[in-house]
Amino acid sequence: MAEVTLTSYIVLGTALFMLLNSAAITVYAERRVAAFIQNRVGPNRVGPLGLLQPIADVLKLILKEDVTPTAGKQFLHTIAPVIPVVTALMTVAVIPFGDGLYATDINAGVLYLLAVASLGVYGVTLAGWASNSKYSLLGGLRAAAQMVSYELPLGMAVASVVIFVGSLSVVDIALAQENWWFVFLNPVGAIIFIIAAFAESNRTPFDLVEAEQELVGGFHTEYSSMKFGMFFLAEYMHVVINSMLMVTFFFGSYHLPFAGYWLPELSPLVKGILDVSVFAGKTAFFVFLFIWVRWTIPRFKFNQVMKLGWSRLLPISIINFIVLAAILFFLA
C-alpha cells in the first residue's frame, strides 16, 4: 500500500470532479453524436450549441415529483440508485492518469477494480426487485444473469494481462505498457474485455436490462425524479469508467504507442500534461465507440446473451489465458 500524499488527494478530487462532469458531457455527446448519426441537429437551443442541455435535464429531474411505489420495498427503492453512482466513483481511486498521477496504488488494485465494478449491477437488480413492477422485475433478473455470466470472461481477460506483468497493481500494469500495449500482445483478451465491458455497462447491444422496446424502461420503469436521474448519470459514468479500464488494461494507459522507444525525457510538468491528455483522448475515443455502437446495432436476446457469455467468451478467454501462460512459461 502506497503512502497517501497530497498528490493523492488532489488527483482524487480532480478525478471525482471530472468524472461527475464527464457524465454530463457524455450525455450531451451522446445526444449530439446520435443526432449526427441520424442526420439530425440535436439539442441546440439551450445555451451555446445546446451545451447547457444536460444541466437543464438534471435540474428538471431534481425538481420533479418523486414517486415511490406504495407496494414496493421503499427503503431499497431509495438506496438502489445510489449504488451504481457510488461504485462508479470508487473505481477512480486506483486508476493512474499519468506518471505518478494516481490516488493510491493498491497492490491488489485489479482485484479491487473487479470487485467494485461488479457491485454496480446490484443497484440494478435491487431496483428491479424493489419497484414491485413486472417489467422492472424482468429487467432486474436479466441484469443479475448478465452480471454473473460476464464477470468470468472479464476476469479471465484481465488475468491474461496480469500474467504479463506479474503484479496485481494497476499502476504496474500501466507502466508495463510503455513500449508494447497489451492489445498487441494479447488481442483476443482485448476483444473479450471490450465485449464484456459493454455487457457490464449495460449498453447496446447488451442493454436488455432496460430494453425500451420490450420492457418499457426495464429496471427503472418505476423510477422518477432524481432517482431516475442517478441511474441515468450512473449509466454514463460507467461508460466512462469502462472506457478508462479498457485504456488502462489494453490500450497503453497514459502512454503513446511504443513511447518507450522514441519519446524523449520530458520535464515532469510537461510529461504530466501529456500523460493526462493522452489518457483523456483515448478515453474519449472509447466513449465515442460506446455511443457509436449504441446507435447502430440491434440488441441481443436474453438467451443469446447467455449463449455468447457462457459458450463463446468464457471458453475462448480460458484458452487464451492458458495459451499465453504456456508461451510465457516457455519463453522465460
Partner: protein, 430 residues
C-alpha cells in the same frame, strides 16, 4: 398454488367484466393438454400485460402473456382499443363522404385504402375509369406500399434495438410524403382517389419528383441491405423466430407478406388483377421458411418490385381524362363547376345524394394493400348510402395469426414478431 388463482389475483378497476373474461380465456387456452400440479409453488404463473400503451405494440394492441421465466406459455390478444365503428359511420355517409375515413384505416398506406373503396364502389355502380387515372392510382398505391414497408422496416429494426434505423427509413418516408404533397395536396392522409377517377392530374413537378425518388431510392435500399443482411445480431434475432408453416398460415388465414413469407404466393394483384396490374410486369416474392427473416426478405423484395411497377407505369402513362365524364357517376371537374350552371348542379347533386348503385346489389372487391388482402363488401339499398359496408382488413386477420405464433417464444421475441407481422391497429379495430 393453483393456476386458477390468477383470476382471483386480478384487481381490475375498469371494465371489470371484460378483464375477468379475458383472463379466464387466457386460462382456458390449451387447458386440455396441460395439467398443473396442485400445491407446487413453482407453478406460480406470472401474467404480463403488454399494452395497450407500450412502445412496441404499434399503437394500442394489448397482449396478455403468461410467462414461464422469459418464455411465453400462453398469450391472448385484446384489441378494440381503437374501435370507433367505421362500418357504422359508413352506413350514414355517402360513398364519397366515406373516403377520408378509409385514409385513417391503414394510416401507413392511405392511398391503397382509397383505391380499395373506389374500386369496390365502381364495381357495384358500374362506373368506368379512364386509363390515365388507373395508372395514377397504381403509382400512388405502389408509393404507399413503399412508404408502409419503410415504416415496417424502421419499427421492426427499432424493436430489435437499433433506434437509428428507424430515423433513416423515416428520412426516405419524408420524401414520399413530399411526393404525395405534390400529387394530392396533403402529405399524409391523401384522399386522392375519387369514384370514377382521381381528384386531380399528376403534374410535371410531381412526375419529376417521383422519377428523382426512383433514382435515389434503390441506393438507399442497397444500404439497408448492406447494414442488415450480414448483421449477425439482426439475423439471430429474426431467424427461426415466429415460425408460421404454410398449412398453418392458410388455416389461420394469414394474408399479404405474412402468407407469402410462409411459402404461399397469394397476391391479389396477380390472382384477381385490378387497375392495370395485368399490363405491368412484376414478381411475387415468396419465401418458404415462414420465420421473421422470411417476412423481412419478402417485404424488402416487394419494395424492389414496387419500384419496377412505378417505372413501368410512368413509361406507360397515357394522356387523357383523369375522371369519367358522366355527371351521374363522378364529380365534374372543378372548371365545369366554376363556369357552368350544370356543372354546379351536378357537383351539388353528387355531394348531396352521391352515387346510387342499384337496389339490392352486392359486391366484394379486394385489392392487395401493403398488409395483404384489403376487401370492401358493399350492399346497396338503392340510395346514396351503403346499407352495409364491410371492410376485410388484413391487419385483423394477421393479428389472429400473431396470437397463434407467439406461444413458446420469448418476451424479447414478441416485439420483433409483432414488428414482422406488421399490424396497424387503426385498420384491425375498424
Amino acid at each position: 398454488m393453483k393456476l386458477t388463482d390468477i383470476q382471483s389475483r386480478v384487481h381490475s378497476t375498469f371494465f371489470t367484466e371484460h378483464q375477468k373474461q379475458l383472463y379466464q380465456s387466457l386460462e382456458d387456452k390449451h387447458t386440455t393438454i396441460e395439467e398443473y400440479d396442485d400445491g407446487d409453488p413453482l407453478t406460480t404463473k406470472m401474467v404480463l400485460n403488454m399494452g395497450p400503451q407500450h412502445p412496441a405494440t404499434h399503437g394500442v394492441l394489448r397482449l396478455v402473456l403468461q410467462l414461464d421465466g422469459e418464455t411465453i406459455e400462453k398469450n391472448k390478444l385484446d384489441i378494440g382499443y381503437l374501435h370507433r365503428g367505421v362500418e357504422k359511420i359508413a352506413e350514414n355517409k355517402t360513398y364519397q363522404e366515406f373516403m377520408p375515413y378509409t385514409d385513417r384505416m391503414d394510416y401507413l398506406s392511405p392511398y391503397s385504402n382509397n383505391v380499395a373503396l373506389c374500386t369496390a364502389v365502381e364495381k357495384i355502380a358500374g362506373v368506368p375509369v379512364p386509363e390515365r387515372a388507373q395508372y395514377i392510382r397504381m403509382i400512388g398505391c405502389e408509393l404507399a406500399r413503399i412508404s408502409s414497408h419503410l415504416l415496417w422496416l424502421g419499427t421492426m429494426v427499432m424493436d430489435a434495438g437499433a433506434i437509428s434505423f428507424f430515423i433513416w427509413t423515416f428520412k426516405e418516408r419524408e420524401k414520399i410524403y413530399d411526393i404525395m404533397d405534390r400529387i394530392a395536396g396533403h402529405r399524409f392522409t391523401v384522399s386522392h382517389a375519387r369514384i370514377g377517377g382521381v381528384a386531380n392530374d399528376i403534374t410535371d413537378e410531381a412526375t419529376g419528383a417521383i422519377k428523382e425518388f426512383m433514382e435515389s431510392f434503390p441506393g438507399e435500399l442497397k444500404d439497408y441491405h448492406k447494414l442488415l443482411d450480414r448483421n449477425r445480431i439482426f439475423f439471430d434475432r429474426n431467424e427461426g423466430v415466429g415460425v408460421l408453416k404454410t398449412e398453418d398460415a392458410l388455416q389461420f388465414g394469414a394474408t399479404g407478406p405474412t402468407l407469402r413469407g410462409s411459402g404461399f404466393a397469394l397476391d391479389i394483384r396477380k390472382v384477381f388483377p385490378y387497375l392495370k396490374y395485368d399490363d405491368v410486369e412484376f414478381k411475387v416474392p415468396t419465401r418458404l421458411e415462414g420465420d421473421n427473416l422470411a417476412r423481412y426478405y419478402v417485404r424488402m423484395e416487394e419494395m424492389h418490385e414496387s419500384i419496377r411497377i412505378i417505372k413501368q407505369c410512368l413509361a406507360k402513362l397515357p394522356r387523357g381524362p383523369i375522371r369519367t365524364d358522366n355527371a351521374k357517376q363522378a364529380y365534374p371537374s372543378k372548371d365545369e363547376v366554376y363556369y357552368s350552371m350544370e356543372g354546379m348542379i351536378h357537383d351539388f347533386m353528387m355531394t348531396d345524394t352521391g352515387i346510387c348503385p342499384p337496389e339490392g346489389a352486392e359486391c366484394y372487391h379486394a385489392v392487395e394493400s401493403p398488409k395483404g388482402e384489403l376487401g370492401y363488401y358493399i350492399q346497396s339499398d338503392g340510395t346514396g348510402h351503403p346499407w352495409r359496408l364491410k371492410i376485410n382488413a388484413p391487419s385483423f386477420t394477421n393479428l389472429q395469426v400473431l396470437e397463434n405464433i407467439l406461444d413458446g417464444e420469448m418476451v424479447a421475441d414478441t416485439v420483433v414478431i409483432i414488428g414482422g407481422v406488421d399490424p396497424v391497429l387503426g385498420e384491425a379495430d375498424k
